[in-house]
């Protein structure tokens, strides 16, 4: 038996096919670059072959210096596939590579991976992180690096403070009552509002001090007291004032007088976590202010003023409200006589790891270009990604969130990834940890809520332009003590803002000792005033005029009131401080001394002249 001929044909064809296909494979393979140009950064697991095609990067000099490619590679910032040796594979997503080149927002987020803290030098990320903190996002979501907010009012004892009608209006449309409110909108139905109301009405708060029967309040006196205590530094009154505390236009309408009276006398018992300092008032003054509030602080909002009436509590409804209170995460912002509740929403600690294709699509199937945009849309339309048949999103709508703000928040969130980077690459832009003195001094600083307005070591509020850092080297102790007891302005053209807290002499001594003892400035020496010879004073006066000091300061009856008045300033300022500021304008940036820099000799002369100025006679 012989082999059939077709078998030979099959043999020949398949042998030819093998050879041909293998040859073709070799031919294709010859297109691989013969020589490799790659950047290796082992710490970041970077293998970047971008420079096979691209020239070396042309970054601006500052970027070149701070982020040399040898240390950072290309893809950690730009994205794309560094391993690739072909154009498409390097730049675009494929089934083998899900992360294409980064969009601008993703690039900013990539900066935020190393630049940690609330104030990184990346505007988008910094803005986003500040918004994350100020909008209270961390009350529902655990977000690394973002503190849990504590600015919402305590809700225990709500029935003692406000009327049910107020709560109903507030939960329906808070903007109607307070345009600058921070409460997000939860899309509640009226039945849910009634349930929440019933629950809140069942939670008792600290007992109120009864309005004294032996005193009668005087609205006129109360109005004067509010002005004298400078409440407007934090509260808006008649449309003017600060925004640290709530607008007082609402106070008289919503609050029961006994509650206001108790708050004024015993602030921190009623509201342990408030930003409001504990004013040291007497009962009469508190009574006057409570009376004034009831007469005058009635905004035209259509809500009935507070009346002594209780919403009847139905236990079943209250139980329902309690459940709702938990489900909506109300306890993340509002205390109920205890600590804040745990975050109820998903942790956002690795949003940067997510691929936008893996995130839910909108109901119309539109996809977002990147994770920051996805977050932005979610923030603006929380229900945008609700799936048919699934539970609708419980996420509330944030008030006053511009599209750019939403994108900034998305960018900040996209900077969070699970994989930690090597410590050598991380930069923390947060101020160092806040340390307040222990003991009575610390209690006083807390009682008067100094850090709501002033900063110390980068922490605290910026209502006051004066940072307390270095104050101990700038100001005389005796002056600090008297200022704390009766604060007078040193800048004549500005409204007096430091609240009159009623600090006693002993308390003022304690606080002044703290400022002097621990808030010094290493750059300022303790100097003695030089003997004021006539020659020195004359030279000082001449230099004072020549350096242009009268442009801002008033001295000896002439000058403008841009800066603090200098007549009699020796009472206030330390000699070493004046001398140093004149030689070193950057000492106190807020002093706006830039451009005035004298030699030590000249500075001594000007300081001698200025500190020798007598106090102006009181008008």
């Amino acid at each position: 038996m012989k082999l059939p001929v077709w078998l030979h044909w099959v043999f020949a064809l398949s042998a030819l096919a093998c050879a041909g296909l293998f040859g073709y494979a070799l031919l294709c393979d010859a297109q691989r670059p013969a020589q490799f140009q790659q950047r290796l950064v082992p710490e970041l697991a970077v293998v970047d072959r971008c420079e096979l095609c691209h020239e070396a990067p042309k970054h601006p000099k500052w970027l070149e210096d701070s982020h040399p490619p040898e240390r950072f590679g290309c893809t950690p910032c730009h994205g794309g596939q560094g391993y690739a040796t072909s154009k498409d594979a390097a730049h675009w997503a494929s089934s083998d590579w899900e992360r294409p080149l980064r969009t601008p927002a993703e690039q900013a987020a990539a900066c935020g991976r190393c630049h940690l803290g609330i104030q990184p030098p990346v505007p988008q990320v910094a803005k986003g992180r500040q918004l994350l903190a100020s909008k209270g996002c961390a009350s529902c979501h655990a977000i690394p690096g973002v503190p849990r907010p504590d600015f919402a009012p305590e809700l225990s004892g709500l029935r003692d403070a406000v009327s049910p009608d107020f709560v109903r209006t507030w939960l329906t449309d808070p903007g109607k009552l307070l345009p600058s409110h921070r409460m997000p909108t939860f899309r509640l139905q009226s039945q849910q509002i009634e349930a929440l109301l019933a629950f809140l009405w069942s939670v008792p708060g600290p007992a109120l001090a009864p309005l004294p029967s032996d005193l009668s309040g005087d609205g006129e006196r109360g109005k004067k007291a509010v002005a004298a205590r400078r409440c407007a530094t934090c509260h808006r009154i008649d449309g003017r004032g600060g925004e640290v505390g709530p607008d007082l236009a609402l106070a008289g309408m919503k609050l029961q007088p006994a509650w206001i009276y108790t708050l004024l006398l015993d602030t921190h018992r009623l509201r342990p976590h408030t930003q409001m300092p504990g004013f040291q008032l007497d009962r009469q003054e508190a009574m006057d202010i409570a009376t004034y509030a009831g007469e005058d602080w009635l905004a035209d909002s259509g809500v009935a003023p507070w009346k002594q009436r209780e919403a009847p509590v139905q236990p079943a409804l209250a139980e329902q409200g309690k459940k709702l209170f938990g489900e909506l995460g109300c306890a993340g912002c509002h205390r109920l006589g205890g600590p804040l509740g745990e975050p109820i929403a998903p942790a956002l600690d690795r949003l940067g790891d997510r691929l936008v294709v893996d995130l839910p699509k909108t109901s119309t199937g539109t996809s977002q270009p990147d994770v920051p945009s996805w977050v932005a849309l979610k923030l603006q339309v929380p229900t945008a990604f609700d799936q048919k048949g699934a539970m609708p999103s419980r996420m509330p709508t944030m008030p006053g969130l511009a599209p750019a703000d939403a994108l900034a928040i998305g960018t900040a969130l996209a900077s969070l990834r699970a994989q930690p980077l090597p410590a050598g690459y991380l930069r923390n832009h947060d101020p160092p940890e806040r340390r307040l003195p222990a003991g009575e001094t610390g209690r006083l600083i807390d009682r008067f809520r100094c850090l709501v307005c002033h900063t110390v070591g980068g922490h605290g509020g910026e209502v006051a332009k004066v940072a307390l850092d270095g104050a101990g080297s700038r100001l005389n102790r005796a002056w600090i003590e008297s200022f704390l007891q009766s604060p007078v302005t040193v800048r004549m053209n500005q409204a007096e803002r430091m609240p009159v807290l009623g600090i006693t002499g002993a308390q003022a001594q304690q606080l002044a000792a703290w400022l002097q003892g621990s808030q010094g400035d290493d750059r300022v020496p303790l100097a003695q005033a030089p003997t004021p010879t006539a020659d020195l004073l004359q030279r000082g006066a001449a230099l004072y005029a020549k350096a242009g000091c009268p442009t801002c300061h008033v001295a000896a009856g002439s000058g403008t009131m841009q800066g603090p008045t200098l007549d009699g300033c020796a009472v206030r300022l330390q000699v070493g401080y004046v001398q140093t500021l004149l030689t070193m304008p950057e000492l106190v940036p807020a002093a706006r001394h830039t451009g005035v820099q004298l030699s030590p000799g000249d500075a001594a002369a000007v300081a001698a002249y200025v500190l020798g100025l007598p106090a102006a006679p009181s008008p």
Binding site: L7, S14, A25, L26, E98
Partner: protein, 383 residues
């Protein structure tokens, strides 16, 4: 000089190129590679329908997997920090790296399928009866080893696909009652897929399992030869006794040449597949990012589909019972009727049982592969 070289060449062969039938028989008996063949063979056994060439294709694929696998081993680093990156280097830097990897991948998938087809054909022809009982068991072992090799190799690229497929697979192993957790611990060296699992899978895939596989392949081929080649029907000329009263042809060249051709066709097909079908490589394995759904390799998706209904019954009992049933089959079904024919009337029950099992496997695998979406929910439009 030429004569000297010629003498070296001739020293390799015990007999020269066979010129006649007698010489070809001698050649078959005297060569290491060829002596696994019978010197003469029934012409019917040469027909495609007699074997579907499935056993030979399986062997060719196994050899090609060995060759490509060794090349991949030159570049592959079995450590979580480096494994995925070495895949990237294979894709972009190593000469013929992509081709080799693609070929290895597709040959592995094909081998799972072809070995199954081989087993199916032998079942249909009752090739597991009489003296062939033990060889069927060896075949079942080889089928299992093929799956094990494919599964261990699946992890090595250390991408999301690999990581989660093996996580799903090892979780199914953990559903074994009582010893499940220990069993998984044994496979993974840990409670989850990680560094030690990668090393274990690597050693199993590249050393232990291939060694066992080729040992059993040797036994398997030896027994085919000793048990008289293909099973022959009693209706065939010669009364089913194979080599008596019937004209046989020499295995050289009739069998050997055909084997060579099959090898070439398989090679060409594999090259074509490797050139135009890219083996997937997803993002680097990330234990914190679970794909939804996480799916096992396709040949385990039937089991995963069953495990979705019950981890023990679907994920453990049914596969174990199937494997045990297959292994015991030659000792349970010893009827001699219908041997050597594909669809004999005498074996309707066996055929029905087998068809049912096959259909069941096919349906569950297809459903698991194509019609299961996120959270293992049914989806009617395959993605």
């Amino acid at each position: 000089m030429l004569n000297w070289l010629k003498s070296i060449w001739n020293s390799l062969w015990r007999v020269g190129w066979p010129r006649d039938e007698r010489a070809s028989v001698k050649a078959m008996l005297s060569s290491l590679l060829l002596h696994l063949h019978p010197p003469k063979i029934r012409p019917e056994s040469l027909k495609f329908r007699a074997t579907w060439a499935a056993g030979l294709v399986s062997l060719v694929l196994a050899l090609q997997l060995t060759v490509t696998g060794i090349y991949l081993m030159f570049y592959y680093i079995p450590h979580p920090d480096a494994a995925w990156r070495s895949m990237k280097d294979l894709a972009f830097v190593v000469p013929l790296g992509t081709l080799t990897r693609n070929a290895h991948r597709w040959a592995a998938h094909a081998m799972v399928a072809i070995v199954t087809v081989h087993m199916l054909r032998v079942y249909m022809a009752s090739g597991y009866k009489g003296s062939r009982q033990a060889n069927w068991v060896a075949g079942v072992a080889l089928w299992f080893l093929t799956l094990a090799l494919s599964f261990t190799g699946y992890l090595l690229p250390w991408d999301q696909l690999a990581y989660w497929a093996v996580t799903v697979g090892s979780n199914m192993a953990a559903a074994v009652p009582l010893v499940g957790d220990h069993f998984r611990q044994l496979i993974l060296g840990d409670r989850s897929v990680g560094e030690s699992a990668l090393l274990r899978f690597y050693v199993l895939h590249c050393v232990a399992l291939p060694a066992i596989l080729f040992l059993i392949v040797g036994f398997h081929l030896f027994r085919v030869r000793k048990d008289g080649g293909l099973v022959v029907s009693e209706h065939a000329p010669g009364g089913g006794r194979g080599d008596e009263g019937h004209k046989l042809v020499p295995a050289w060249p009739h069998l050997v040449y055909r084997e060579l051709i099959v090898t070439l066709v398989v090679t060409a097909t594999l090259l074509a597949l490797a050139l135009w079908l890219q083996a997937p490589l997803e993002a680097e394995a990330d234990p914190s990012r679970t794909p939804n759904p996480a799916k096992a390799p396709w040949y385990f998706l039937g089991v995963q589909e069953l495990a979705h209904y019950s981890a023990f019954w679907g994920g453990v009992f049914v596969p174990a019972a199937t494997l045990l049933g297959l292994a015991l089959l030659p000792y349970l079904d010893t009827h001699a009727e219908g041997v050597g024919r594909y669809l004999p009337k005498e074996r309707r029950i066996a055929q029905a049982l087998f068809a049912a099992l096959l259909l069941f496997m096919a349906v569950t695998t297809v459903v698991g592969t194509l019609f299961r979406g996120p959270a293992w929910a049914l989806m009617w439009w395959p993605k």
